[in-house]
């Protein structure tokens, strides 16, 4: 197949348009692989890891090279499924369509290839098609803000709050371009002139969902729209699930803002957890079906409960100032505070009876509090100053 494609003028010029420098055989072989195999095909991934991308393709397509195939049932089954797609026309169409929309081809080994994606091992994509800024793929920090399509106003508001705040602080917002939470996150990032990446389940040449055509164009203008499947490929349930692993792998942390009990976002979360990436879930009313998946993540996936963008930043290690820095009174102070009154004065012995503290301890605390202006002494004993709360 490679021989046939490398001599095709359309292919060569289209490839030139999508790459800075072309390594014809290797680049073509990756594009062919992306046409033959569905996302995450571990047999294809293993074969490529073992033989290199060009030789792996020979094994996959060439009927003469039967040695390895005969000895390996998985490869033999792989050939069977890849075979029905081994049509040069599909490859030519994919590259041409990519060129037509100005997509760029990013391959392992490229400066723009994000090493984080390689954590997927044999399930890593063979390539990425990018419309927009390829450099964003390795900009930091990258945080996934994902969630339900059928989001509530509560969820969309929070997604926008978090994404806007994080993007304004320099984070790249990664999401799936869908209606609901994803869209709110992308839009908020754009609205603060921040950076955002949309991973699509279909080809980057087609806007999905259609209603996000304008949004995806805006993302491509200043951020990046990315996919591992060839142009012309329709999004399917399987490809959505596979696409989710890319969102999880690329992002240094994943936050699910809202998700139904069986939401696809749980799948993204599962990938993040499996990859050891920090996972956050935003709680919501237990009466809201749109939060049921988030609560499930808290219960079953050991997700971290996050309620502010500062808490989201903590997921990748940025710890803000302690929100609870006010000094805490010790037990004796609480008890003496209980015993004092603003309306009546008590002697030290009376305060001892009321609080159960020793008179010596009370005298010592009262001495400090008097200096601080929290209590005052009169002829009958001690009383609390009206504008202080010694009990806090």
């Amino acid at each position: 197949m490679i021989e046939l494609l490398r001599s095709d003028a359309t292919v060569r010029s289209a490839l030139d348009a999508t790459r800075d420098t072309v390594d014809l055989d290797a680049d073509l072989a990756r594009v062919v692989w992306s046409v033959l195999a569905e996302p995450g095909d571990g047999v294809a991934g293993s074969l490529i890891a073992e033989l290199g991308v060009v030789d792996a393709l020979s094994v996959a397509c060439d009927p003469r090279d039967g040695g390895l195939v005969a000895s390996n049932r998985a490869v033999s089954e792989g050939r069977s499924r890849w075979g029905t797609r081994a049509d040069p026309r599909r490859v030519i169409d994919a590259i041409s369509a990519a060129r037509d929309v100005g997509a760029r081809l990013v391959l392992p080994g490229d400066r723009e290839w994000p090493p984080a994606i390689d954590d997927l091992g044999v399930h890593a994509p063979t390539l990425l098609w990018v419309r927009g800024d390829r450099a964003l793929l390795s900009a930091e920090p990258r945080v996934a803000i994902v969630g339900a399509r059928a989001a509530s106003g509560y969820g969309e508001m929070l997604a926008a709050d978090f994404a806007g705040d994080l993007a304004a602080g320099g984070a790249v917002i990664v999401s799936g371009g869908a209606y609901g939470i994803d869209g709110a996150a992308h839009r908020a990032a754009l609205s603060v002139e921040g950076k955002t990446i949309a991973f699509l389940a279909g080809g980057v040449d087609r806007a999905y969902p259609q209603g996000h055509q304008h949004l995806l164009r805006r993302i491509a203008d200043t951020g990046a729209v990315v996919s591992e499947v060839p142009c012309g490929t329709a999004p399917t349930k399987w490809r959505f699930l596979s696409r989710n692993r890319l969102i999880a792998a690329l992002s240094q942390a994943t936050v699910v803002v809202e998700a139904g009990w069986r939401s696809g976002s749980l799948n993204t979360a599962g990938h993040a957890a499996a990859l050891g990436r920090p996972l956050g879930a935003v709680p919501g009313p237990v009466t809201s079906a749109a939060s049921a998946g988030c609560h499930r993540l808290l219960r079953e996936y050991d997700a971290r409960c996050v309620t502010t963008s500062a808490e989201i930043r903590e997921l990748w290690g940025v710890v803000g100032g302690a929100a609870d820095a006010a000094p805490r009174p010790d037990a004796d102070q609480v008890r003496l505070g209980d015993a004092l009154s603003v309306r009546a004065s008590f002697s030290v012995v009376e305060l001892s009876r009321r609080s159960g503290l020793a008179p010596e301890r009370i005298s010592s605390l009262l001495g400090i509090w008097e200096l601080e202006g929290r209590v005052r002494r009169d002829e009958r004993g001690w009383r609390r100053e009206s504008d202080t709360d010694t009990r806090r």
Copy 2:
């Protein structure tokens, strides 16, 4: 002090009224201790554990017994604080008031004494005053449903839902008798004719808050109103905090339904966690101040996120039927489901191209699905039956 009290006729008859069988010295000594020491006084607890309750009291009160005191600074300080309360009148008043409201005295060693409370060690109460059914203290299971006084409608509704459902299932609902979440939980338990225990921070002879006078009387009628402090004692901040440890210790699990960022319920939760008792927190909108403490418990205390009464039951080990028992399709089924259509038929090779699955795998899946009536074959190939969703 004991000598003086044991010869007092009022004391003897009052004690008779509050006990099934009286061990005069020991019972009196415990009542005296509860008058002298504030709740949770670890020095008093240690002294009692070491010497027994009667001899410990001699050390605490008798100026002649100076050996131990001189050698132990903590005991010496203890004497100083206990001393201001060493007034027989206080003891007589406490027992008389208890008798007047029909309270019963439950002591360590009694059949009704809950062993769970002893997990508090030297901070365990020296006694419990109970209005109502003493046997409830050791009935099982016991679950604490607690939370903010300043609860929202959302929180009160959930507290009532959970407490009602758990109480109807036989659980004893333990709470603090306060406005808000506590009151909603108690009321719901009563409304299903379930059992409930209210732990008070003040004496059981005074209703606190006053607005819950009627509620607390109803609780005493069929459940139990309990306190470790003598009758006549006012509730103070310190005593609320101390009371919380009893709720946590008595309950096999503690659930916080709503709590502000600094809510006293977090203190109850902290005790539960410190005692190794399962701790649940109910999530809510992150925009609700009344849920901020619950989210804090999820983040900082490793509380379990609970959203239903079934999930609360799981805290003490009752696991219900799996809510997610529907069989999950494997990856190949998802992909074949994606490739099929209800509107058009596809050949096996076409399905292979569309799904990326091998033709053999497709034929085998289609054979099963045909038997199940999920697909049918026509002259052009295979199509999905309209009323099935093979993708689920």
